[in-house]
């Protein structure tokens, strides 16, 4: 019925199944709010949510800001570019500054794994990891699970194929973990050079679409191809990637034939991991992922409590 609050949300791995269930279940009434004339509840009135993004991300940041606004929190963005971070201020100095401002929730994105956890240890505020290095992106995973649960009565046994740069993807890491925690089967499709060397034995790894389709997935989850990786020697060129691993028009036809669901964490690179036709695919859940992201983040903010004792 009710749940002990946690102080921080840093990854999926540390959540219990009951906690995952609690966050997903509460996201349903939060999503219902979006249909009302007043899309806002006073749940976090008087609380301050601060977004601290060391890596740019318009979408995730906006999603958190809309979520916090709809809970009536006061939302502030700590602008890294214009702050003293560029002058060499350490993360800890920044956190001390924020601590003095008495913010209640800090949403952190950083290119280095573990920074949100480090910040969490040094502040009374609740810290939400909005993506750290290759480590984790827990709210993305929660919104992915929530989105699929709207389509599948029971996720147990459903099969998701995750396609792309698995090795360097915190999304792949967190989302495949939550899918498996909810009883789904997960497989990876990636070029050999960016397939993780060590994966749990129950995750099949494919090098081409034919083998991956033969595994009979229900959901195709495309990862974003990071353009900055394109220059790296082990990464295929954009056109090569598209031809071999992208969702080409011909592959969209296979999805259509089989009625498979399509997901992508956004923003998409048209012509690389997906085509225009793929974007218009009728069973694409990409827009629903965006909408659900707000509801799930509201549910996370509702559950976490600044200063809560970590058990």
């Amino acid at each position: 019925m009710s749940m002990i609050p946690r102080k921080d949300l840093l990854d999926i791995a540390s959540l219990t199944n009951e906690e995952i269930e609690f966050v997903l279940a509460n996201a349903v009434p939060f999503k219902d709010l979006f249909k009302r004339s007043v899309k806002k509840v006073p749940t976090l009135k008087g609380q301050t949510v601060l977004t601290l993004f060391y890596e740019p991300s318009t979408r995730t940041r906006s999603s958190f800001e809309v979520a916090a606004n709809r809970l009536s929190a006061d939302v502030t963005h700590f602008d890294i570019e214009s702050s003293s971070v560029v002058k060499g201020e350490s993360v800890l100095d920044t956190v001390e500054t924020l601590e003095s401002m008495r913010v209640d929730y800090i949403v952190v994105r950083h290119k280095q794994s573990g920074i949100p956890g480090f910040i969490a240890k040094n502040t009374r505020a609740s810290v939400i990891n909005a993506g750290d290095g290759w480590h984790a992106h827990p709210t993305q995973a929660l919104l992915d699970a929530f989105t699929l649960r709207e389509k599948f009565k029971d996720l147990r046994g459903a099969r998701a194929l995750i396609v792309g740069d698995i090795q360097h993807s915190r999304v792949a890491r967190s989302t495949s973990l939550i899918f498996r925690r909810l009883g789904m089967h997960v497989a990876y499709l990636a070029p050999g050079s960016i397939m993780p060397r060590e994966t749990p034995p129950e995750i099949p790894r494919f090098g081409n679409w034919d083998d991956a389709f033969a595994w009979k997935p229900d959901v195709i989850y495309l990862l974003r191809v990071q353009s900055e990786r394109m220059d790296e020697p082990f990464f295929p060129s954009a056109s090569e990637y598209h031809k071999n691993y992208g969702l080409t028009d011909a592959r969209v036809e296979v999805l259509k034939e089989r009625g498979l669901w399509l997901m992508h964490p956004g923003p998409v690179n048209r012509g690389v991991e997906i085509t225009d036709q793929g974007m218009n695919y009728e069973k694409s859940l990409i827009n629903q992922q965006v909408e659900n992201g707000i509801a799930v983040r509201m549910s996370v903010l509702y559950w976490l409590k600044p200063g809560a004792i970590e058990s």
Partner: protein
């Protein structure tokens, strides 16, 4: 039909609950006799079977009734001090609130804080023409200026006691009784 072991004494037996429900429904019917529709909105949790019991009686009297329920958790003023986070049940008002006559139903009014939250939430759904409060039990001890328009039973109890209500609908029996607050 298990009875709670910590029951101190009964305030209303099953017949008493039914009598109160009949009286409140009759009073609502009389007050709004020129109104074509009335909306009954139950406050989760036991305000919902309470509202449903009133709705059934009004329908039996030939009235047209809209029915809804609201979960006030998101509007509580004590969320920051609670040691556990309540699971949300969600609100469900799928009729048009504009210009509606709404009776907000809760099983007990005591401090008035739930009534404040319920009214605030209701008004976020739309702009009803009129809102009234119906309760089965009006317990003295208001902390906010909210008063019921309809009440089945009025009581004044020592602060260490709390009122518990049970409805056939959901609990299997009708009863109002007193028990101690749970130990915190």
């Amino acid at each position: 039909m298990t009875q709670p072991p910590d029951k101190l004494r009964q305030l209303l037996d099953a017949a008493g609950v039914v009598r109160c429900l009949d009286e409140i429904a009759a009073a609502i019917d009389e007050r709004w006799k020129n109104e074509s529709r009335i909306a009954l909105v139950g406050v989760y949790r036991r305000g919902v079977p309470f509202a449903r019991a009133l709705a059934e009686r009004l329908i039996a009297r030939g009235r047209e009734v809209d029915f809804g329920k609201i979960d006030i958790t998101q509007y509580r003023d004590d969320l920051q001090t609670m040691t556990v986070v309540p699971k949300l049940e969600g609100s469900d008002l799928d009729f048009d609130l504009e210009d509606a006559v709404v009776i907000l139903c809760d099983e007990v009014i005591y401090t008035g804080r739930t009534s404040r939250a319920a009214l605030e939430e209701l008004l976020d759904f739309g702009r009803p023409r009129c809102v009234q409060f119906a309760v089965l039990v009006d317990r003295a001890g208001r902390e906010l200026p909210y008063q019921p328009d309809y009440a089945g039973l009025r009581v004044d109890l020592p602060s260490e006691e709390r009122v518990s209500v049970r409805f056939v609908d959901g609990d299997g029996y009708d009863e109002v009784f007193v028990r101690p607050w749970p130990v915190k």
